[in-house]
């Protein structure tokens, strides 16, 4: 059996997804026996020219992590699509925007200013901002321009499969690779997950009738390690999050934050979580309900921590223009399904 050509790429991401590949550990040796790594910028030195030189479809499988934040990201996405037989949106950023996607709340200019000038750890007394073009005596320097909106990979190019997680659980990654190698891929385009939601794997006790009068944030209380977070008044995204991580956070006494994305039948994770949360409100009047709502700090960051870029809310906002978007011309539009 000949080896397959494997590629991995990081677009706008933190690098965690590449670590998830490294975390395959000794499985990497097994992988090396069946696959040649033809492109992996995080680990080895490849140039874009190397990829451009490949024949179309030369790469059998590409694990693409990171969101489409810059025109460079978009460019590489198209390039890798062209060269790959199977393109996988690997990890939350590529799949649904993840934390970088929250920058869509403010748009790229505001985000750039924040990152380059305003954060407490930044020392930038003259307030210089990164420029797309900069004239030097040696010539013109250029940086890739930011997209008007952060996109998921699928909004830019067709994607064959998705593996959720921030980052994906390495066991799940290995299982997905094994399935691929065995030619046993599922039909639903989602790899590296378990059936149902995080709650299915969560060992905590659910009383089932306890409703809450106010919500607190994890740093404000020491949670009871045995009981359901929601019933303790802590927002937990578990009910609206696909199982697959093995309930990792909740076992560390932190509420689930939803990085595995929504379960199959749910299109919009934030909306589903919102609904599930409201169901547990203990409010007998309009005023009481409003009081409870007020205790939910930053609902967007809470419900859409990982999926804002992929949400209906985002699309509704996109209807009114964000201005010139260098990525828009390349962006494919995804068909709406629920």
């Amino acid at each position: 059996m000949s080896k397959i050509n494997l590629a991995a790429y990081w677009a706008s991401s933190c690098g965690g997804c590449d670590i998830a590949i490294v975390e395959l550990g000794e499985h990497l040796l097994e992988l090396a026996q069946v696959a040649d790594i033809v492109f992996w910028p995080a680990a080895t030195d490849f140039k874009y020219a190397d990829v451009e030189a490949m024949a179309d479809g030369f790469i059998d499988l590409t694990l693409f992590n990171g969101a489409i934040r810059t025109e460079e990201d978009a460019h590489i996405a198209h390039l890798l699509r062209q060269k790959s037989k199977v393109l996988i949106a690997f990890g939350s950023c590529a799949m649904e925007g993840c934390i970088p996607g929250l920058s869509n709340l403010v748009g790229p200019e505001r985000a750039l200013r924040r990152a380059s000038i305003e954060t407490p750890s930044t020392d930038n007394p003259t307030g210089v901002l990164p420029q797309a073009q900069y004239e030097m005596p040696e010539g013109t320097l250029s940086l890739p321009r930011l997209c008007g909106v952060l996109h998921t990979l699928e909004e830019v190019v067709p994607v064959d499969f998705k593996i959720p997680g921030c980052p994906p659980n390495h066991d799940q990654v290995w299982k997905a690779l094994q399935a691929y190698l065995a030619g046993d891929l599922p039909t639903n385009r989602l790899l590296g997950v378990d059936p149902r939601t995080v709650c299915d794997q969560c060992p905590r006790v659910r009383e089932g009738k306890i409703r809450v009068k106010r919500f607190q944030r994890p740093h404000e209380v020491i949670a009871d390690p045995e009981r359901c977070f929601l019933e303790q008044g802590l927002v937990c995204a578990g009910p609206a999050t696909h199982a697959g991580c093995g309930a990792l956070c909740v076992k560390a006494n932190m509420p689930c934050r939803g990085c595995y994305g929504p379960p199959e039948s749910v299109a919009d994770q934030g909306a589903a979580l919102l609904d599930a949360l409201v169901a547990s409100f203990d409010g007998q009047s309009d005023a009481e309900v409003r009081q409870i709502v007020e205790t939910i700090v930053d609902p967007i960051g809470t419900f859409y921590r990982f999926s804002l870029a992929h949400s209906f809310l985002q699309k509704a906002r996109a209807l009114t223009s964000w201005g010139d978007d260098p990525c828009a011309s390349q962006a494919a539009t995804e068909g709406e399904t629920l």
């Binding site: 039948s265 749910v266 919102l274 609904d275 309009d286 939910i296 609902p299 967007i300 209807l319």
Partner: protein, 335 residues
């Protein structure tokens, strides 16, 4: 013809002894409850006064076998009006308990759990106004898992659990997400650009209307006729059934405004549904403001049982609010 032996004094005593049934005999049949109760709209045979009257006469079989004893949703609209202070839904519950013990079962419909998808997360058990859902160990594909179980005798088919379920495991005939979406989108209504995009001459509104919030019969009958290219009326069993995802989808398609019409505080037909509807809209509004969408575009509107023409008034008010928004919303990029 009712024969004397059908009037069973022991049946009366059993009801009186049942918690909630104590006040059965206080009823003097004034009919306030019957005229207050809106269940008649969907179940014309339901008359709480008659049930209490028959129960008071001791007509055991007639009462216990009747389908109507299950129809009271304990909205308690009648209770504060009863001149005899009878908590009628409590009496109904007492009668149902006797019926269950006698082997009768509620005719339904009731919510159903898809055992394969249910994670047992308990969102539905907390959501249910009637404590009709429990988590129980059940055998699913040869494996024992603790998942949701619906008590048919308590379920009132409000659909609140269907909305709440975050994994699509709960269903209720004719009220499932897909069916609601079909009603929203029928005739390509969703695919037309909106007023705020400068493409429609007037705001296009989607209205989710709780089936109990419009009381006057003529207004109820007129409701479906109001559908046109600028207004889409989707009737829900309760404002607590509204799906935030549907609201957001509509906005993402260019619908200008969404009205969620529910009952006045304290008048919810399903006890807490109106508060769930309010909570959802309040959170949606906050999130809209955070992303730079005008929160005025999604509105919870309430109607009291004592109001007429509330729906028309609320639709007009929302249209006006959106019309006022247009220049700002169109020119607004972000701060």
């Amino acid at each position: 013809m009712i024969r004397p032996e059908q009037m069973d004094r022991r049946f009366v005593e059993e009801i009186l002894a049942e918690p909630g049934g104590e006040h059965l005999l206080t009823c003097w049949s004034c009919g306030t409850c019957a005229a207050t109760c809106l269940v008649r709209r969907f179940n014309p045979a339901f008359n709480p006064r008659l049930i209490l009257h028959k129960a008071g006469l001791g007509l055991r079989e007639a009462v216990l076998s009747s389908a109507e004893i299950w129809a009271c949703s304990a909205c308690d609209a009648c209770y504060p009006r009863c001149p005899q202070g009878i908590h009628i839904s409590d009496v109904m519950r007492a009668i149902r308990n006797l019926a269950i013990r006698a082997g009768y079962e509620a005719p339904g419909p009731a919510a159903q759990v898809d055992a394969a998808t249910c994670s047992g997360c308990a969102v539905c058990t907390r959501a249910c106004p009637y404590a009709a859902i429990e988590r129980k160990p059940q055998m699913v594909n040869g494996q024992e898992r603790t998942i949701a179980w619906v008590d048919r005798n308590l379920c009132q088919a409000c659909g609140i659990c269907v909305a709440a379920c975050p994994s699509g495991a709960m269903s209720l005939e004719a009220m499932n997400d897909a069916e609601l979406l079909t009603r929203v989108a029928a005739g390509g209504w969703l695919e037309q650009p909106g007023f705020l995009q400068g493409a429609s001459d007037a705001p296009r509104l989607l209205a989710f209307v709780c089936q109990w919030s419009i009381r006057a019969e003529e207004e109820w009958e007129r409701l479906q006729g109001l559908n046109d290219e600028h207004l889409r009326v989707v009737i829900l069993p309760c404002s607590g059934r509204v799906e935030p995802a549907h609201v957001l989808l509509a906005l993402s398609k260019g619908v200008d405004g969404v009205l969620v019409m529910g009952c006045h505080e304290g008048e919810c037909h399903y006890q807490r549904g109106t508060y769930l509807g309010r909570g959802k809209v309040a959170l949606l509004n906050e999130m809209m403001a955070a992303v730079g969408l005008a929160p005025q575009r999604v509105r919870f509107a309430e109607s009291s049982a004592l109001e007429r023409r509330a729906f028309e008034r609320q639709v007009a008010a929302l249209r006006e609010a959106i019309a006022a928004l247009r220049p700002a919303e169109i020119s607004e990029v972000r701060g």
